[in-house]
Structure formats: structure tokens, C-alpha cells
Symmetry: C2
Subunit: 361 residues, 2 copies
């Protein structure tokens, strides 16, 4: 195995817009920029995980045009100034986003690709896993980090571990996106499967080669967009027309599920994608009554609740296992465990409002 | 019995500040001025119950200095302009408030005294009861209207019916304020008891005579304050020093529990004091799922809830039997049936805030 030659380049992916943390996250303020459990934003937490460490260079940020200024400003303020800000003219999925970062970093760079809206309770464990995976990446493996399932989650991708390829690393034998519940249950029981957290360590050139082989339209569109990119200081905008020619596809679907040399490095690091209010509650610091409280809230006599406010004071009295989230413009109350119903709320609000009124988030 | 000689003068008592409907009612916006179930405010509903009817004169409003302008403006806007606005320099209870109105109206006037923060679902039944009670009042009886209990409420005053003194009227044999639960239950079962709704029909002179006999300090302080009152147009401010000399006492305690000729006229009129969010829910128009919704709210999959907002949009998803009330500054979530815990919320908020920060209502 070759030794890693240079600093690892963090690549922070801050794209997309979700509604699952409504009313806190909304189109006008995407999830990475908020702090669902209070404190630092998810973006800032992501950047700080590797900032100021000997092994890591300044990050490359890949983001959308709407959020670029806000995202960059937050990273600058957090002392994690990006070396480059790649502004996607339109969203084309993570395969293309990583390709743009790879083109910026150069073939020999080792990239640590991180979604910007996950929580990791134990960043030291994360960094240790990255360090242990670095020789594999240097050797040309596409490394993904695996999370041990603790429930039969059907919303994630699963990786079946193949043969060991070094200490704490396995060949990824198969990727399965969003398995049926029975399958997820069986895998939880049998073991040998990890969740795919969407965090990758890989050499830039290896990624571009893999794309060229397995998703050539993505690769060619990104190269064309990069060749005609406009730049100003650290901000780079790939050519919109060329980039629009890329299929919109995830890294998993475009490459990971198909490439030969894909490794999974399991890591216990308290990971959560914070993809729902339940996940935010599960990942956050709770009081002795199991309440996660954030903002100007009180919850006497309540238990098992997530209560947070970015606006009005909230008093939750003697209620149990509820999610209560308030902003200046909207309030959500839903049983914990049913927060996927947020979509119902948004639909109901849209249905009763005049066109253009928005969802009130 | 003498026939009533002139129009009945409505006396609207709009004093005091409650916290039981927090965060909707608060010191800065007292309960009469709000519409807990949406629509017209309680004050406006009170005034409209008798406005524009042949039997009734323009009302006399008795209110506090803080609220006088807002209360008067709301009545003017509702087309129920008061003939006089008596501004109490300090709160001294309903016995003194009625005395001030009696002094303004003159001994021969018949006063219909009404709290301004109750709901009456059937105003026609109310007016009919007033009409049937008018001869009694003209004859010198102090008439109170009785509400048939439908639960063993321990927060109200009870009146035991004595001998009949005409059609649908009884001598009030005994007043009991806030009985123990066992007693309230026994009375609910036995019958013969009515809740005291605090609505009175009485001759002004009779009230002042009764006060002189049973609460002479109230009577003398009010007469002294009235003699030195300052007035401007319809607005009258009794002398503060003199009025402050009155004991602070309710009409019930000062007179009704002691006077000889007190009558109770039972009336079925869908009365509620709206003294809690439960009462607001019980009194309001609910949808087929038992939800009382007011303001910019949606409640898919929810039942038995009171959901109202004066500010942010509120989405209550799949929750049951909750009270959810939102304003721009505060949000309350509490199980229906436990909204007396509102006091806990206010205490908790006051405890965690710097001095002067207020309760966020």
C-alpha cells in the first residue's frame, strides 16, 4: 500500500432542501445552516470535525447558488474558511458534486466527502476511522464509512460486508438502497451489514475514473462544465449549460454500487443523519426526563419531548413524547415517532392558502 | 309588584386580569378583549347581547384605567357605545364597581350587571330570563341568574334554591363559594342548587341600601369617591384616594350572601365563564373530530383539541385532547383537562428570565 502523500482535503456537500425538519428547515434556510438541537449549526459541526487538524487541508465547499453566500459566511465565521467554494448552477446529485470537487483538488488529492447535515457525537472516533482508511484510499479504494444499524431502518442504504481487506475494513460486497422492512429486520439480526452514511474517502482521480466507467455522462458533463467555469477569488461557478447535461444521480447509484474496489470501514461514532425530529431527539442531549429542550422553552411535568423554539417562548405542560417546534412563523406539534407527518402539515397549509402564500415556514 | 318604569341599564364590568387563558389573555390584553374561540371578543359579545333591544338603554362600562381606552374603543366600534365609562382608579371588587354604576344611574334605575368575559350561547334565553326577572327587581329584590350545574365544579359559587317567589324564581336560601368536591358532587346529584354566574338584575337604590347595611365601608367610600369624581364627556374617574378606602370585596360576599331579599332565576342559556381553555373548548363550535380551531391552524389526524393562533401558523398532526395556543410571543401546549397548569408555565418562565423580562405572553 502507498502512504498518503499529502493532506486530506475535506469536501463539504451542502446542497438540497428538505422538509422533514419543518418548520425549522425550509427552502429559505436549509438544514445544514440550522442547529436542530441548539448550539452550532450542522454545517459548522461538520467543518469543525476536521478543522485545525494536522491531517486535513482547508475544505472545499460544494453548494447551491441560493445558499452559497450564507454557507460560506457561516464557515468563515466559524474559523473554517473554505479554500474553494464551488457553486452548482443546478442540483445534479452527489456523484457530480464530488466530481467537481475532484476536478478542483486534482487527481492525486485524497478527498474526505461529508454531507453537511449529519451529527457525529464522537468526532475523534470519526477522525481515527479516516486515518485508518487513508492507506486504502491512497491505494485506490473507494472507501465508505459504515454505521452499525440499531434498528430496522428502511430509509437508508445498507452495505453487506465482504472479505476483510485490512484491519477494520471490508470489501463492500453489495449496496442495497432502502430495503423492505423484513429484509432490514433480518439484516439487523444477522449482522454483517452497515448503514451507508454517505461519507467517503477517495482519491480524486480514482473517483473521476470510476465515473468515466460507470456514469460517463456525469463525468463528461462535469469536465465540460469545469473547463468553462467562471471564477472569482475562491468562488467557482461551473458552466450552467454543460453542468445541466449531467444526470442527477447519487454517488451510491452512479459508482459505489458498481465499482470493483469499494471498501467499507465500520465506525462507531454516534452518527445520525438527523433526518427527522425523532432522529434529532435521539441524537441530542436530553434532560433526566428525556426532554430535548432548545431555545426559550419550559416543559414542567413533561417527558420524552423535543421542545425547541427559534421565536416565541414555548410552554409544554405535562405532555409526553411530543415534538413541539416553534419559529416566528410556524409551530409544529406532533407525536414523537410520527414526525414523517410533517409533509401532511405542509400539504394542509398549502391547500388552504392563496397561491404564493408559501407554507408558512 | 311594581312594573319596571324605564329601560334597563346594562352595566358591563370589565376589570381584573387573569392568567388562566395564557398566553392569549395577559396583563397587556385582558380576557374581555380577546376572542378565545375566534370571532367577536367576549366584551363585544356581552354588549351585543342586549344592544339595540327595546328594553335596554346604552350600557354603563366600569373598567380599569389601563384598559379603559381599549375597552371603550371596542364597544364604540361594535356599535354598542357606552353612555358612561367609569374608570376605577384601582380595583376594589365587584361590590364597589356596581355601586359606582348605581351612583351614575340613579336610585330608580334597574341595572343588569354583567361580567364582560363570559359566553352565553343562547342570548335570547338570557333576555327572556331578564324580562321575567324585571318585576322582581322593580319590587326590590336583588336578582341573580342561576346556571344548572352539569359537573361538580369546585371553582364556582353555588346558590341553594329556597321557596318559589313567582314563576321561575326562587328565594336564594344560601350562597356557598367554592365548595369542597364532595359537597359539589352531592349538590349535583340532589339538585336544587345553581351556579352563581355573577349576573345580577337589581335596582340601583336597593343595591346602595344593601351595601350601606351589609358593607358600609364600601358604600361610603364609593359615595365619597363619586362626589369628588372628575369627568370629561362620558368618561368619569372617581376620586382615587376616596375609592381606595373601599374594601376590595365581591358583590356576593358583600351583599348577596347576607341580604334578605335575594332571588335566583334559573336560566338555561349555554353559559360558560370561559375560565379555562377546557371551558373555551366546551363552549365553542367544534368540527366533526371535536377540534375547536381558530386562526391560521391545521390539525390533520387530530381530535378533541383546541388549536388556535393569533400569530404563527400552527400544525397539530395526529394529536389528541390537547390545548395548543399560539401568539406571536408565546406558545402553550397542555393536555385538555390540565390547563390549570398554565400557572406553572408562567412561574417557570418567570423563574428563568431576568427581572423585568415578563412572562413572554
Amino acid at each position: 500500500m502507498a502512504e498518503p502523500a499529502a493532506l486530506i482535503v475535506p469536501v463539504i456537500l451542502s446542497g438540497g432542501a428538505g422538509t422533514r425538519l419543518w418548520p425549522l428547515s425550509r427552502l429559505q434556510r436549509p438544514k445544514p445552516l440550522v442547529a436542530p438541537a441548539g448550539g452550532a449549526s450542522l454545517l459548522e459541526q461538520t467543518a469543525r470535525r476536521v478543522a485545525g487538524r494536522d491531517a486535513f487541508a482547508a475544505p472545499i465547499l460544494v453548494t447551491g447558488a441560493d445558499d452559497a453566500d450564507a454557507v460560506a459566511a457561516q464557515l468563515d465565521a466559524a474559523g473554517c474558511a473554505p479554500a474553494a467554494i464551488i457553486v452548482e448552477p443546478c442540483p445534479r446529485g452527489t456523484a457530480a458534486a464530488i466530481a467537481l470537487a475532484a476536478l478542483r483538488a486534482g487527481d492525486d488529492a485524497t478527498l474526505l466527502v461529508m454531507p453537511s447535515d449529519h451529527a457525529i457525537a464522537d468526532p475523534a472516533a470519526f477522525r481515527a476511522a479516516v486515518a485508518s482508511a487513508a492507506p486504502l484510499a491512497a491505494d485506490g479504494w473507494l472507501v465508505t464509512f459504515g454505521i452499525a444499524p440499531d434498528r430496522p431502518e428502511t430509509g437508508y442504504g445498507y452495505i453487506r460486508r465482504g472479505e476483510p481487506i485490512g484491519e477494520g475494513a471490508f470489501r463492500a460486497a453489495r449496496f442495497t438502497e432502502k430495503p423492505p422492512l423484513a429484509m432490514a429486520r433480518a439484516w439487523l439480526e444477522s449482522g454483517g451489514y452497515d448503514w451507508n452514511a454517505g461519507i467517503f474517502l477517495l482519491r480524486a482521480g480514482v473517483w473521476l475514473e470510476a465515473l468515466a466507467r460507470h456514469a460517463p455522462q456525469v463525468e463528461s458533463a462535469c469536465r465540460a462544465a469545469w473547463a468553462k467555469a467562471r471564477g472569482e477569488a475562491r468562488r467557482i461557478v461551473p458552466d450552467a449549460d454543460a453542468f445541466a447535461g449531467s444526470p442527477s444521480v447519487s454517488a451510491d447509484v452512479a459508482v459505489m454500487e458498481r465499482a470493483e474496489r469499494v471498501a467499507v470501514v465500520p465506525v462507531e461514532m454516534g452518527w445520525s443523519d438527523l433526518g427527522s425530529w425523532e432522529a434529532v431527539h435521539a441524537a441530542g442531549d436530553k434532560d433526566e426526563h428525556g426532554n430535548l429542550l432548545a431555545g426559550d422553552v419550559v416543559a414542567p411535568g413533561s417527558s420524552g419531548c423535543l421542545v425547541r423554539s427559534d421565536g416565541p417562548v414555548v410552554a409544554a405542560l405535562g405532555v409526553h413524547d411530543l415534538v413541539i417546534v416553534a419559529t416566528e412563523r410556524a409551530v409544529l406539534v406532533v407525536p414523537r415517532g410520527e414526525s414523517q407527518r410533517v409533509r401532511e402539515a405542509i400539504d394542509a397549509l398549502l391547500a388552504r392558502r392563496p397561491p404564493g402564500g408559501g407554507a408558512g415556514g
